[in-house]
């Protein structure tokens, strides 16, 4: 069982181009439809649970592993999800280092920059849309926070704290 979890998440790790949100449909297919380890409702609940923690949301895998097989499942899912992709990144970094003198390398890498920034912007917009389900107040927070982070160099902690306080007052 633990071995199967490790294997399943290792495969997910290597198809997760774009990170956790990109791999979620495939994760659902594997865990719910193929293996029957989780049902639909549990899968959604666990996803929400993972969102409540800070850090990279790829750790949604850890929560799923926990639910499937306890602490061992959590360890196997986390290891499987993180390690294969990290090893690949390690070797690609080495390759980049060896190619560093090549005149095409910097422009080629530069070509990936707008794609990465575009996807960050998209993630922010998706998060803003999700927060709109709580009414108009969150959108005001989104707008203020956007300007604050974009136009100043103060710590974003201020807008996170402010958003949390407003949420406690107006959404509670």
């Amino acid at each position: 069982m633990i071995l199967q979890i490790l294997l399943t998440f290792s495969i997910l790790s290597l198809v997760a181009i774009g990170g956790a949100n990109a791999v979620l449909p495939e994760m659902h297919r594997q865990l719910v439809e193929l293996h029957g380890w989780l049902d639909d409702a549990t899968f959604s609940q666990l996803y929400a649970l993972a969102q409540a923690a800070p850090g990279p949301n790829i750790l949604v895998a850890s929560v799923m592993g926990w639910r499937i097989a306890g602490a061992g499942g959590m360890a196997a899912a986390t290891f499987g999800m993180l390690v294969p992709a990290a090893i690949l990144a390690w070797y690609v970094a080495g390759l980049m280092h060896r190619l560093r003198g090549a005149p095409w390398l910097k422009p080629a890498q530069g070509g990936l920059v707008p794609v990465a920034i575009g996807l960050i912007l998209a993630a922010g917009i998706t998060m803003a849309e999700a927060s709109h389900s709580h009414g108009v107040m969150p959108l005001v927070v989104v707008a203020v926070s956007t300007l604050f982070v974009w136009r100043t160099n103060y710590s974003p902690l201020w807008v996170l704290a402010g958003g949390g306080a407003l949420g406690a007052i107006f959404l509670g």
Partner: protein, 194 residues
Amino acid sequence: MPEAPPPATIIPGPAELFAGYLKIGLFGFGGVAAWARRVIVEERHWLTERDYAEVLGLGQVLPGPNVGNAAVMIGRRFHGLSGALLATAGLYCAPFVILVLLCLFYDRYGQLPAVAPVMAGIAAGAAGMVIGTAFKMAGKLKLRAEAVTILLLATLGAAWLGLPLPVIVLVLGPVSIALSLWRAGLIGATGAAR
């Protein structure tokens, strides 16, 4: 606010590398990429804006979380294998511990702690932080018109059309690389004629 002159980059020691990534993981609610840029570029000056954007771009097209891949590559650059391990451990350890606690709570009470309104407010702040970070990066990197077009197409595809991210990366990535090489004069007449 006036732009300060860009400070020279600083090479972090192993402990600083771990501590920096610990902060990124701990504060990274919703938008860990925004916190990673904040800590690495603005607060600690490990990498320049462009350098960081390039590492992140590479991390984006590889499987796995972009920030996680970037942690491996940045850690390796500064301290080899131990650097990659320290950065990765720093990034994941705080969120992992918090998740374990949440799981224990959930197992015991069958529901999440009643912090939903606070979290909704924080999520709204985080959404703005992520959007603001994208604007800031695009502005500071002085992207050319074609790069801005690619950026907006990626946003459109992911946020409004709901296209799978691998499709966006596999279509726009090569096009964007080709445009960038053409700008650098590395693709000849065929590229310039387009």
